[in-house]
């Protein structure tokens, strides 16, 4: 990828509070119907309570979460979102997860364009009418909202753990206080992941998308295919 310099962010005041809007679990972008692999893990007996939920979330955060955070940070920094979208494909061998990422990306694009209208969002929507990968759209939305790449990385990383935690509350009847405590305990690691993601996005700005992390989680990839074929399920993924 040739990306010697990134376009400057749109000229609007930095709005730190926009991060609260973007990362709010009620942001209407479709996330509530997805479990991030937790439904399959619950069915397989790999998540049975707060401890195994924490293990699951920690693994997801440092794999899919790190990749998502780096893609979001890079998109927020102004790297070409179409190239980032290709980099996301390359890091997502499961067709079911690619389809989910594009579907959620399109839903997020719909919401983001209504909330933070920007020509760059419109351009990405036109370039990927079936949806770009959700973390790329998240980064572009953060950019449109005047947020920083670090904000985008935090939001993307947080989503990769908050989704499963919320889903497990519904799937197992898990005490919501304990599920939320899991998220709080992962806070330090989320900060660390966001820092690594921003650093990788910085390297990608000069060295190309090959500099982005490619951490993978085999069970997430494997079980996503089986889950997509279940005749009945509560969550879309």
């Amino acid at each position: 990828m040739q990306q010697p310099s990134c376009p400057p962010p749109p000229s609007r005041p930095a709005a730190a509070a926009a991060l609260l809007v973007l990362a709010d679990g009620r942001f209407p972008a479709g996330g509530h119907a997805h479990s991030g692999g937790a439904e399959a893990a619950v069915r397989a007996g790999r998540i049975t309570g707060p401890d195994s939920l924490e293990d699951f979330c920690r693994g997801r955060l440092h794999t899919a979460g790190l990749v998502a955070a780096a893609l979001a940070a890079a998109a927020c920094a102004g790297l070409d979102p179409v190239e980032l979208d290709a980099a996301a494909d390359v890091r997502t061998p499961s067709p079911a997860l690619r389809a989910t990422a594009r579907r959620l990306g399109r839903q997020l694009m719909r919401a983001a364009r209504a909330v933070w209208p920007a020509p760059e969002l419109a351009a990405l929507a036109a370039a990927r009418p079936r949806g770009a990968h959700q973390p790329v759209v998240l980064g572009a939305a953060a950019r449109a909202a005047g947020l920083t790449p670090h904000d985008a990385a935090l939001a993307a990383g947080y989503e990769t753990v908050s989704g499963p935690a919320t889903a497990v509350v519904r799937l197992l009847g898990l005490d919501p206080f304990r599920a939320t405590a899991v998220l709080a305990r992962l806070g330090g690691e989320l900060d660390e992941v966001a820092g690594r993601a921003v650093a990788a996005a910085g390297r990608a700005a000069t060295g190309g998308t090959g500099e982005l992390p490619a951490a993978s989680a085999p069970l997430l990839e494997i079980t996503a295919e089986a889950h997509a074929a279940w005749p009945t399920r509560l969550f879309a993924s």
Binding site: G37, A41, A44, R46, I47, S52, E54, D55, F56, C57, R58, G59, R60, L61, H62, T63, A64, A86, A87, D89, V90, R91, T92, P93, S94, P95, A96, R98, E189, R203, T209, G210, E211, P213, A214, A215, S216, A217, P218, L219, L220, E221, I222, T223, A224, E225, A226, A229
Partner: protein, 256 residues
Amino acid sequence: MTGAAAPAAVPAGLSASARVAAGPGGTLPVLAGDGPLALRRTRAAGPYAQVTLVGAMSAPLGGDRLRLAAEARPGAALRITSAAAMVALPGRGGGAARFDTELTVRQGGELRWLPEPLISARGSELVTHARIDLAADARLVFREEQVLGRSGEEGGRLTSRITVRWAGRTVLDQELSTGPGAPGWDGGAVLGGHRAVGQLLVVDPAAYGEGGRPAEPRPLGGTAALLPLAGAPAVLVTALAPDALALRRLLDTVTP
């Protein structure tokens, strides 16, 4: 990729490299390697020139830097195997070992990369990176198996990355980190208690490209799946198993 230079604190380990190139008609114009990367020509059925890695007795140790480059030149068919599993062991002074593999398949060429598993012994630390570069009509069968710990032993730290370019574009980039210090690696998202993890990558334009039939994704039991890649005539099988034997049985069912 990070870490172009070794950290200064790492004690000097062994540095070894090997090169092999296959030409048409079963020729091997390049065949060089020594120490843990000693290569021998071995007999094979079919059109393949076959090379077997015979020296990987107890390597890599921590601090070692190994590099293997294999090339199937235009129209060549190359098959690479190994005589025994490679065992990553801790080094005398600690520090990570590196094992880099560069596999190139030129137009009309074919490479079958079918080594024995890599075993990550307790206390070891190894970083591997396989970089694969394929011409648009190249064919590839690439198998990678990792076993965490010898029998009854916990595994070491293992980070392995595979980057595949096909027709000039990157089509797969995957890294897996397991063992002590890799956060969440044994949870329900990553390995979930399994101790053997493998990948089989098949790139075959005739089978999956234009004129062929695009592959359909499908689960293979509960712990493996066949995954057609985006934008390439390729499928990746990712598989988990309790041990090396079960993993091989699983991958054998889908190896063309």
